[in-house]
Symmetry: D2
Subunit: 463 residues, 4 copies
């Protein structure tokens, strides 16, 4: 029998299995899994010595996003090129509702930013900033169009923050329409008081960004979000969880039966507060919300990943250059006032390798790696079984990873359009060797060989 | 040696001791404690067979308070008469700031309501409803005048509710002025959504008062209040805690080092949700906030009292007649809409005996009884060692309790100015026999023999 | 391409995946997984409407075992026939060391009992009853032969019980030889005192079996076993965990990093203490150790299965007739003395359907069903990836389950050689339709069509 | 009125009160408590600037005790002189049953050791080493004589260790006779295996004493002891608790309603494992069981004292000279084998000041200090209200402590008959100034002025 493509002799890894096998691909999908497949004229890739993994799914990216007087460094073209080079074949980006406008209009803007400009498949979450009762039905419509998730904020009063009654109404609505709320959980009221106090006292350096956003402010808001979901009787997803105490709240909620889920990000697993104290304003590179946490916290998160107290690792990729570039001001905006530093850091390209490194150090099993980077995101966000696994009928989104080859992370070589890398110089064990998107070769021997038009919008399923 | 009064042969109980002894009183204070005191012309009371307890301190009462189109049934005259007959010799009532006015004005109104009309010593907490930054310094002034505690609300949006930033600023201020915040911890935003929904669905009976105020709404707000206090680095006191899950949050906060305290009330220890389902609108008698909780919850609270996860039992006495009386509408206001039922229930007279009953059933030791009804409130609220114990120099506020004599609670015999009693017909083991306020006999053999002018304002100490 | 067998159109379920697919089988193993496989002369089975599951693995059975003056009702012939009819294709039975003899001799006896008499693949755990230091090296030898697990007892003083020093030495040894200890965790010392006391007081009915084996005795021993493993730095597996409090200890140990695992059994999930109070000595049918627990406990165990606080469900199949049969006395042995009732109950045939019923009621997902009945046992006990999953190269041990067809459990129809069934009359949703062992059809449309010689000894891998 | 003695103007501290007052003493007892007592011919001591505390009660001492080929350095004469100089006015020492002999005989030996040789009041616990069923009734008799507590061991197999069945029977018996079991909770079986292994590997230095007695061995045994008490339905008291994890078990047991109590000792609060690594065999000075724990553990114990997870601080005073003296070999016995080092350290004299130092550093309140050093021990061990407090009728056992004066601990100045002090050179804030035993001045301005015959045997009350 002849197939479009056969990948032979690799070690296939899914969320629960690890086995030697051949994969046959036809029309962009997995057609058969077996051993010793004959070529019969099919194109053949030899994966001997390589792991074959489901393509990574990054459910938290911000591309081409305006923020605080500038715009993110990466648009869909550069961001998704970096993604696929890093082994990620699907992303979910955030579309933003403008205050006073309808959800739909905001979504349309993002469709425009992405269409025909993406190297990976993509979908959107909808950021909700203005939700009077009359707009609740707009949520239903989006769910029907495959935009099934809505991000609300407990931080940024006056900008993004929703009050508890609004959040609660949104949660109740997802109980009816099958959508899900994603929550930025930090207590914005407290944080604003602390920020004003710090600035009034002349504390303007980057480290005060972290010192005015205490872990308790995150743990409190997380607990509150979970309680609201519990009272509404619906699932909830906590984004970019950074504090061990917040994780503890997720764990407790799950144990009492709440359908509570949370993601953390590589930066919270590898970096820490100390980075803010770097001289020469270098600390600004790490200004993101929530901030990096004191050393010791990261071990709690690793433990949470092992014990499934956390379910997903995404990136919260939101890149700003350190020095402005191409008319977009950078981190320097906040040189004299930490509260003006654009919030966010690049990471869309480094997630998979940073986590695979944890497989090498036995912190994660290969199966758990697949679960947190691909299978769980796919299942939680309505992409499964099209994405997130390697079974007959699934999209042939595949990463061939070479576990023997080392890779050194650097802004000099990365594909993200940003002038620094938070992990500059770090060497990890493992290299993203080949990447396929629906059977199309996008990366070959570590080089981008695809097109930035290959990605399609994915209409997601509701619960 | 001659004293004003000697009380002989009783069993003296304090928060840690139980012993046979004689008490000598001079100028309203304990002058000496011993055995076999000679009369030498002193007046003598024989307390043989009686327990001698420090006078009860009820730190949560609402007397002469306007609420929702009516006024509480008890003013200071009737309320404090009932208090002293029930073994309580000090209360802390709540003065209310009017929106847009200063704290001071609200306090003055309450001074006016109480002065010369109280049978027990009294102080005030200040209810804060409107706290822009400029008013923070008003708090300092009140602390200096002995009104050291400030109640804020996380419930009743648009009426009493403060947002998190305001609460946080108030907490920070108490860190500077030595005051303390008392918190009504229920998530008002969620509750309002649930109330509107219930009413829209035609659910108007009293039980919906409880069903729209879930335990989670209290647990969440409690957790939040504790987190705010923790971030401000100050103590906090949770009022009328009713839900076991809220208590669990207090316990956890205490274990991580927060100076967190909480009171519960007899109604949450003895009554339960089932009372709301009584026919003929009887359920309205139990409408209070937080509401009575499902059966099983009360055992958790008792366990909390035993293990010191709860520190105080107060009453939240806030009485409304079932049928209107004297121009004051009663519970009937809400016959067609549970949200219009005046919130509150009478209890100032029954607290001590209801809790002593738990001594009889071995749920509490006599010492723990004294601790939660008198010693702990005195220490937490700046009344100690003047109040709350029996040591040389303390005020001779004393209760002589007869443990052999039974007492049946009834609206027919109680001194509260209200036409029902939530514990109607309940017989407890123990009777408040004699009560002394600063050595003045107020109650003799269960009868009120004092005057409603004996009580004085107590200027409390700050931390 | 031609295969020995193709199973088409079923819904394949593994521990993490659910998908429509065809399976091709060659030489007893999974050769390929795909869709729309052409027959090309292969034998074809149509699985339309059926679930295709990895064959069940029951890691806790007692076949042909002498106990307390009798022998179990099922030997390998009847027991494994029942197993395969119930969807179980591999078992691990317990070989017993005789006191004073070497491990090897005991193992040989069990090899003799099983060889050529088993309808399913089988392996052994070694029950250790006598382990002076000199015998420790015998453990190493067994591990080398694929008998990698050793059961020790904290109960039955004077019969099976090992003291803590012995257990600790055995645990340490598994740290060197890659084996693992399986523990019967009940405090035998306490239980014996309670049994003697009960008998002395004339308490002889079956229910006293349960009343003299309190949950605390199991929780304590579990905690102790886990601590010994923790101090030895090795994994441990708790068998037949029945008490929620014992589970809590496993959970806590796992959270502090101990490689702790536990199985429970269907009887603890479905039955309860009340069964002991059945009249006419019927309670004896449920006499097993640990005993059935009070109602409410089973919900804790279900929660544990959901949250992975428990990893495996086995049967502890150990059947005795109620009335003696074939020269083997039955439960009647203890009619006048509960302590003489043979301990154990039948279950090898009913495990899979009882648990699938929980899939129907949404207590378990299909994937979790596979995990606890097959995948996790295979991984923990060195059978994976030969057993426990459906991937290329795995043994074609497959169960075709019809989810639409109901099944009623009854001693009249079951294949176990025992005159009662603890679940008599219970109807479950789902029927074991076809079963394949290494590609050999053993069960067809619910009827046994195989041979009791098809099963082979499986040499297990050590850690 | 005239009294034997009046102590004026001190700050009286009890477990719950702190107040300025005068104490009048008559016939060795507190006669009256007041203010401004007139002398009227009474002897007067001025306590201005001093704290007046209830005399310390040390419920865990080993005086004149044979152990491992030697005898403790302190007998009753030297030991109780040191005690009273350190502010302790009552002790409970351990009498030892000889194997094969009756309890009574062992008790008589200890009566002989103490009678007429004690500067403080004393009682005994009975160490039980051999408890067949027939001896259980001997326990009843001792309870009747005021020796109400029985110490059993889970450590030292072959010497002191009882098995679980024996312990359980003893616990059950105290449920009938009103006594209480005190438990040495370490898993002796595991420890012996580890000790043998260490010695076989040539590990002979003092530090291996600690490394072969892991915290888990204590936590496990503690959990087991608590479970046995729970199943017997009786209270239990854990002696010399050292490990935070063991404390956690006590806390959990208390929360589920077990009458569980535990003491720790100053050495576990102030010293740590590092002391074992001192050169020149100095580590031997700290060899005791349980051993000192790794740094960090002590903070958990302090937290436990604050939160009442621990109830008592005793000393486990068991002194051996470093160098032999007077025919008694010392720590040197184990120079080549840590397992031969006599177990124990001196502490009877330093407990009160070391803990008062924690009052100075705000770790403890003065009231909590009194509770853990005197009131709680008195209540738990049947000495209250004769001992443990300052109320009319109580023994006038009083310590006048000068909080302004510093004290430096040193073997050069201490009264214990031992050639080293574990706290050598440590300076604490506070000095034991005067001590009274039943009104008799034993210590004056820090000097011993009493007689070593003043102490009497105290017959203790049972529960």
């Amino acid at each position: 029998m002849s197939y479009d493509l056969i990948i032979k002799n690799g070690t296939v890894v899914t969320a629960s299995e690890t086995y030697q096998g051949d994969l046959a691909i036809e029309k962009g999908k997995i057609a058969a899994i077996g051993r010793n497949f004959k070529s019969n004229g099919s194109k053949v890739v030899d994966a001997k010595g390589l792991y074959i993994l489901p393509g990574g799914i990054d459910v938290h990216t911000h591309l081409d996003m305006p923020f605080g007087g500038t715009t993110t460094a990466d648009d869909f073209v550069s961001g998704t090129t970096a993604a696929v080079c890093g082994g990620t074949t699907s992303i979910i980006d955030f579309a933003i509702q403008k205050k006073g406008e309808d959800l739909r209009s905001g979504l349309d803007v993002w469709h425009g930013k992405a269409q025909g400009k993406s190297a990976v498949d993509y979908s959107f979450h909808m950021i909700v900033t203005d939700l009077p009762e009359k707009r609740l039905k707009e949520m239903d419509k989006l769910v029907g169009e495959g935009v099934t998730t809505f991000k609300l904020f407990m931080a940024y009063p006056g900008v993004f923050m929703s009050d508890d009654a609004t959040i609660f109404r949104a949660l109740q609505r997802t109980g009816e329409n099958g959508g899900m709320v994603c929550m930025h959980a930090e207590n914005g009221g407290v944080i604003d008081v602390l920020v004003q106090k710090a600035l009034a006292e002349g504390k303007t350096e980057p480290k005060y960004h972290a010192l005015t956003r205490p872990m308790s402010a995150e743990a409190e808001a997380t607990r509150r979000a979970l309680a609201l979901a519990e009272m509404a009787g619906v699932p909830i997803y906590i984004v970019h969880l950074s504090a061990g105490d917040a994780m503890e709240e997720v764990r407790r909620a799950r144990e009492r039966g709440v359908a509570a889920y949370a993601e953390t990000c590589p930066q919270y697993l590898y970096l820490s507060y100390e980075d803010y104290e770097k001289p020469n304003f270098e600390g600004a590179k790490y200004v993101m919300s929530p901030p990096l946490r004191p050393r010791g916290n990261e071990e709690r998160l690793w433990k949470g990943l092992t014990n499934n107290w956390l379910q997903v690792v995404s990136t919260d990729h939101c890149s700003f250059c350190f020095h402005g570039r191409g008319g977009k001001p950078g981190k320097e905006l906040g040189r004299n006032d930490f509260s003006k530093i654009p919030n966010g850091a690049p990471g869309i390209e480094t997630r998979m390798l940073l986590l695979w490194d944890a497989v090498q150090t036995k912190k994660l099993t290969p199966n758990r790696f697949v679960e947190i980077t691909s299978a769980a995101p796919a299942k939680l966000f309505g992409l499964y079984p099209k994405k997130g696994t390697i079974t007959p009928g699934a999209d042939a989104d595949l990463v061939l990873l070479d576990p023997k080859r080392k890779h050194t992370i650097s802004a000099k070589t990365h594909h993200m359009n940003v002038d620094y890398n938070p992990y500059e110089g770090k060497t990890v064990q493992g290299t993203i060797w080949d990447v396929f998107l629906r059977g199309i070769k996008m990366v070959e021997k570590g080089k981008f060989v695809g097109r930035t038009t290959s990605g399609s919008f994915i209409k997601r399923k509701s619960r």
